[in-house]
């Protein structure tokens, strides 16, 4: 059975094309290495505050990142480092922001939970659960209104499916057939609590799709090929006026919810089981199986590590933000004046 599935997936991947598959691998490696570096920088106390790592969830960010058009929009949560990088944001900009340096994407004004890079279509990372689903729908409304064929893609966790904004936004998008893809990254835990213990249905997003007249879509979020093909299908459909989609991608986060969480609530052996299904491991094995040379993959890994080292050094060398930023950019005139 397992072998049949493996062959089927490898065959489906054949439709993807060699270049795209290498990009899917490269991107997953970049997201993994950069996120691991963020963790190391925490341990060195060079990153303060909190941070929510995507270790183990790279296939979703990579699959969508590669499928999206450069002018499509990404909306992500506080667990948004990977999605931001997946759109081509600078690694120095991301690490610099986590470290509170002036080279950061937001010059240190936003921090880990608010990564934004409008130039690359990353329209913000939203730290209040559910808030960005309506915002993504609004961007889709703008695309539909202006006829630009842009698509909004909105990523969120399983916990988000139990908050009101999730339901409001999906209904709103369905009623107006907006070009927005809602992607639930179901990593099994809302924060510290297993999602199945607090949710009335087995599949927190997919089982709710019918309530809004949408198809139930459940994918293996650890398989970059499957994610990519699903993303292409629904993004293209939305682009052509076919309306929104709600996709549940099942995955697992290798670390706790945030910096403060060692993840001790997880049953013994669960993490180990999921590490066997590590998206990078799966993808690397598949590429080798279908004939990519070991050296090609090693080259990608070496080159990516070099980029991470370079970005780390650049971020470390960057000065802290200038204090005059405190009073900048509350308003469009660049200032913060509230009185004359």
């Amino acid at each position: 059975m397992a072998t049949t599935t493996k062959r089927k997936k490898a065959a489906a991947a054949d439709d993807i094309g060699q270049e795209t598959r290498l990009e899917l691998y490269r991107l997953q490696v970049e997201l993994r290495y950069c996120e691991k570096r963020a963790y190391d920088l925490f341990l060195q106390n060079l990153i303060k505050g909190t941070s929510h790592l995507s270790l183990g969830q790279e296939a979703i960010a990579a699959g969508f990142g590669v499928a999206m058009r450069p002018d499509d929009w990404t909306f992500c949560t506080y667990r948004g480092h990977a999605h931001t990088l997946a759109r081509g944001a600078s690694m120095t900009g991301v690490l610099g922001e986590l470290m509170g340096r002036s080279c950061g994407l937001l010059a240190g004004k936003g921090g880990s939970m608010h990564l934004t890079d409008v130039e690359h279509g990353v329209m913000g990372s939203y730290a209040i659960i559910g808030a960005h689903l309506p915002v993504a729908a609004g961007a889709a409304l703008s695309a539909q209104y202006r006829g630009t064929e842009q698509v909004s893609v909105c990523f969120f966790g399983d916990g988000t499916t139990n908050i009101g904004a999730f339901h409001e936004a999906i209904n709103f998008a369905a009623v107006w057939k907006l070009p927005v893809i809602f992607v639930c990254e179901n990593n099994l835990y809302m924060e510290y609590t297993a999602i199945h213990t607090v949710t009335a249905v087995d599949h927190p997003a997919a089982d709710r799709a019918a309530a809004y007249g949408l198809e139930s879509v459940l994918v293996d979020g650890n398989d970059a090929d499957e994610v990519y093909l699903t993303a292409m299908k629904y993004i293209n459909r939305a682009r052509k006026g076919g309306g929104p989609a709600l996709i549940e991608a099942k995955t697992y986060r290798h670390s706790g919810h945030s910096r403060a969480d060692p993840g001790k609530y997880r049953p013994e052996g669960e993490l180990e089981k999921w590490l066997e299904r590590d998206p990078l491991k799966i993808y690397r094995e598949r590429l080798l199986q279908v004939g990519f040379a070991e050296g090609t993959l090693t080259d990608i890994e070496t080159e990516t590590m070099r980029k991470v080292e370079e970005a780390t050094a650049a971020a470390k060398a960057s000065p802290p933000p200038a204090l005059d930023l405190i009073d900048k950019d509350v308003w469009a005139d660049g200032g913060a004046a509230w009185r004359n």
């Binding site: 994407l105 934004t116 409304l141 209104y145 842009q150 409001e168 509350v330 469009a332 009185r339």
Partner: protein, 325 residues
Amino acid sequence: MAELTYRDAVAAGIAQELERDERVLFFGEDVAAAGGVFKTTVGLLEKFGPRRVRDCPISEQAIIGAAMGAAMTGLRPIAEIMFSDFLAVCWDMVANEIAKARYMSHGQIQLPLVIRTANGGGARFGAQHSQAVENWAMAIPGLKVVAPATPADVKGLIAAAVRDPDPVLVFEQKSLYAMKGEVPEGEHVDRLGTAKVLRQGKDCTIVALALMVHRALEAAETLEKEHGISCTVVDVRSLVPLDTQTILAEVAKTGRLVTVEENPRLCGWGAEVASIVADECFWNLDGPIVRITTPHVPLPSADQLEDNTIPSATRIVREIRERID
């Protein structure tokens, strides 16, 4: 000049901006086919069509979130929240998302959007449909806040809000919707951040907002005629930006400040005005600053109770006589 009701002036302001700029669209609950529960948007659907004037589900978070998403991607949406009390339902969108996006993103995100809402008491709707909540918005950095008192001002300030590059909340006072007044013919665009001196006096400066402006004017009339107390009345109009120069100048002339606020007592907008005047105009004052506010209670519904809760002209006269004489 044409005589319009406040509610028709709202529709005229929105229509003027829809006409002018294709990027403007308008949506909310019951605003299109029904013309708004307060009939403030009658005729807009017929004139501009369902692409630009849209009815939404009862989903305040979706409405305000959608306005945000549309604004950051090049449109200039006007969203309606039927009663300002319902801002509490979507306060995350307003206070956490819209107000902070530009700042947090180091200026990458622009949000030229307008949230219009029916605010304040006087209509016997009870505690969840009558609050004056403009002070909630005033407390959040990143939001501009206006509360027009006349038909001309509501049209002009809506237009100014739509053309402003930042998010603006327009608090329309629902008890004023039937009020008539002169509105300039043709295009009318006002300026945010400007107070208006409506009446000049020598004994006392009354600073008021929205419905309270009319009660302050009525009180000033009585104080002058019956008690020989002559009052300046300033309509604040815009809480953010706040025209402190006009307020400070008018307080300096009379030496006395009275604020008249529909907000409940604690942290009403007048507290900030009082603080600024105390800081910057102290040596021009001839006596203590007086704040006349709704008491710190939820608003009751029955005629007699509501009328004796929100500041009335009678109460303003009484308090000014007691404190100023």
